[in-house]
Symmetry: C2
Subunit: 191 residues, 2 copies
């Protein structure tokens, strides 16, 4: 999705506020001058990360209360409204895995889908160190795994891997030696 | 997104119905037995298509009233609630481009994003023939272009290409000769 769909028009009005989603509407002038009600959502942003521990990558095996099967994901989660995404990323990494990093880079900033004002911030968190035990919510069942770089690149082929938007990067990295070296350095060389 | 998120739980209640989006909520039992309100959306499904005309592919250059710049997309659009997706695909192709096909294959059925009950049906519509002039809504400004297979595969690199979820397929097809031949046959050989 392009940045053109990111900001709500100035005349948009909040018509419903749910637990996660807000619904906004406005009168939009059409190409023939007529007016129509347009609708768009807002939801809190998301912060996720590729977290490295020595030469491994930290991934999660998650279960959620309304999903029948476990799935793989990167660490991360929902930002609080107005929360700085890097602060949210640090908080989620510590809560979900007990790890901390002192070497963060914002890698991608994506709007995954049309009609929703929602940004997914993806960070690289290098040289993570375990500081304490994970602290999970009542709605979380998470275990962590450390996997190698090559195994990580194969996650594009795993239908349970949650971050589908990264599949293209993983695929390109497997096929293109230059992209692979660049991605490896991004993850494992201290910035 | 996996199929596990597709269906709303039986105890979900509609709490808001907008122009496009419905908001549903339910009480969800957590792993420790406590209850929390979970929220999920429903929206009408989408039907899009790779439409071929002889050895070319029909793509659209679109403008929309709330977007500052034109963008590229496949033909297609929103299904009416309960509308059969193939019927919606035929209707959208005819309205937006004036073309018809007698050779349709359902190629992909994807749930693009978590927390939204929403399926994008992608069809192959082979050997399209122009039957009449396009018939556009007041909110549509669409012109069509016929492009070759190689140019189509490069759309993964075009940041304005709307169907981001196809970028992985186009990329794999460029790198893997077997995948390329298979995709070419899917598009251009009569089924």
């Amino acid at each position: 999705m392009t940045d053109s769909q990111k900001s709500m028009p100035a005349n948009a009005k909040l018509v419903f506020k749910g637990k996660i989603f807000e619904v906004w509407q406005w009168e939009q002038k059409m190409f023939d001058g007529s007016l129509e009600v347009f609708e768009q959502l807002r939801r809190p942003n998301t912060a996720i990360m590729i977290a490295t521990v020595e030469d491994k990558i930290l991934i999660e095996v998650q279960e959620q209360p309304n999903r029948p099967r476990p799935f793989l994901s990167l660490p991360g989660g929902r930002c609080d409204w107005e929360e700085n995404p890097l602060a949210a990323a640090r908080r989620e990494l510590l809560e979900e895995t007990g790890y901390e990093s002192r070497d963060w880079t914002l890698w991608k900033e994506l709007n995954p889908v049309g009609k929703i004002e929602w940004t997914v911030y993806t960070y690289i968190a290098r040289n993570c160190v375990q500081k304490k035990a994970p602290h999970l919510d009542a709605g979380e069942k998470i275990t962590t795994r450390l996997i190698g770089f090559e195994e990580f690149l194969m996650l594009s082929e795993d239908p349970t891997f949650y971050e589908r938007e990264l599949a293209g990067v993983l695929l390109r990295t497997r096929y293109d030696p230059n992209a692979k070296e660049e991605f490896y350095n991004l993850l494992f060389k201290t910035s």
